[in-house]
Assembly symmetry: C2
Homo-oligomer: 326 residues x 2
Amino acid sequence: MQTLSQISQSFGNYITKQTFEKEPIALYEPITYILSLGGKRIRPILSVAAYQLFADRVEEVYPVAFTVELFHNFTLMHDDIMDDAPLRRGKATVHTKYNVNTGILSGDAMLILAYEYLTSVSADIKTVTKLIKVFNKVALEVCEGQQFDINFEKINKVTISEYLRMIELKTAVLLAAALEMGAIVANASESDTENIYEFGRNIGIAFQLQDDILDTYGDSATFGKKVGGDIAQNKKTYLYLKSLELLSETDAQQLFDCYNTSDIAEKEKIEKVKTLFDKAQIRSHAETLQQEYYEKAMSHLNAIPVAEELKQPLYQIASELMIRKV
Amino acid sequence: MQTLSQISQSFGNYITKQTFEKEPIALYEPITYILSLGGKRIRPILSVAAYQLFADRVEEVYPVAFTVELFHNFTLMHDDIMDDAPLRRGKATVHTKYNVNTGILSGDAMLILAYEYLTSVSADIKTVTKLIKVFNKVALEVCEGQQFDINFEKINKVTISEYLRMIELKTAVLLAAALEMGAIVANASESDTENIYEFGRNIGIAFQLQDDILDTYGDSATFGKKVGGDIAQNKKTYLYLKSLELLSETDAQQLFDCYNTSDIAEKEKIEKVKTLFDKAQIRSHAETLQQEYYEKAMSHLNAIPVAEELKQPLYQIASELMIRKV
């Protein structure tokens, strides 16, 4: 059995061996570039860690794990265009370093490559069919999540449950599917596969809530993205929606106005919104909700009847996700 | 056996039954919209017609034929953004009717849906594996073709063979793969599958040359795109590259200058380039080359040992492609 750092290292070695040095360079180079930005490779590591609960030839799951990483980076490439984001992990985004057309097209190629890896897995037909079905479903759901996210920027009224469903689609289901696909490659039982999926879905929502918290309260030196970006873009996060509920009518109106007038400078707007967030003690509220999802996630992991030792890497990822600063 | 118009009608019925009326509407509506713009559905019809050469349960091939149509429309949606094209078949392009982000995201969803249909085909594992392999390959090739097309706009020196390779990737291989996949679903032999692919590849290059000719010499009332668009965008088509070869040094220099200076109004530029094209008698040269590819295509179709009657729909499509006005 591999520890988390062993998984990370072995899979890291595997990734560096996957090269995309083909013509036309302008199409493939941005793929190498975005993959080189690194990050913690949380999703593929989840696939490997989930696989390890039920089987022990970890190399078997690598193509599927890499499918998830390619897909995730494809969504980053396209989302960064849509969000007009200049930075990703402290480096220029693809469409900033190259141009928008490159970002669109290289992203498309990454999505196709994701399917190429997925269908290169050595497994029986039943397993491959299951994997494709799960991947098709999650890929569409992630697009749906991104669309809801875009929609929410334009409408005034978003409920907290609509918001939670959006982050579930945009973020959580991919973590869940990464785990599920790892379990499928390992021929896990249906109930184990369901539990590992639910572990991922709940930890994913907790993770996104953490991301929302960091976007406002993170340290700009380590966060890798612009702090206050969500506020600047009028993103109706849990922090915003719940503050509207918690604040007095006057304060809530002020918060609403900050998001709905353009005659306030960005820096001033971020400061003003933060003050109102603090007044609502929103950080603590968000952290409480995050904790609830975290505990639900853990209960699903606990329900899987395998040796505790095998679950260590998953416990560790889950806890790191909850205390991460970047 | 179905005639071409029967294929077109039956498959048309199948398409109208495929609905994408799901939430979020902003994601799925543009898919319905672009599919509703119609067109001749050449690619899926090719899949069905190729299938019919070797088997006769046409419904069997529909999901694969629709995969190709979805993929083709996905590329249109994204290419129209990259080319900043306002019109598609005389109607507003998706990013014009909606916005660029919608065009990116709905396009992504279409690519995923294409895989969903592809993997929903009822066939044995060997067949499904072959189909996925062909589709992965062609999907990447089409991206490569689009990237070469973009590259060629920015560099001065493009050879005719580089241009022909680009249109092969961007256009011809998808027609070829549409046919190949139809043959695969019908369990055709390897040599028949190869011949049908080569028929498509050659007819595809002829088709793209026709498109280039129409872009300059088409009738704006029926062409559905802006006539002269290639010239306005400095597209180094066969017409341009071959004219440079054929014209006198002075005229060639003038043509080169038209493509490389920005201080000439678009309308004037199109007129001037057309005059130089005419001087090189480029239309006739392009039509001769087109005819060569057409004949090569036919020789591959002839090499397939099935009843002539079964090939009628393919002969008909091929000849319609060569005389089409839109």
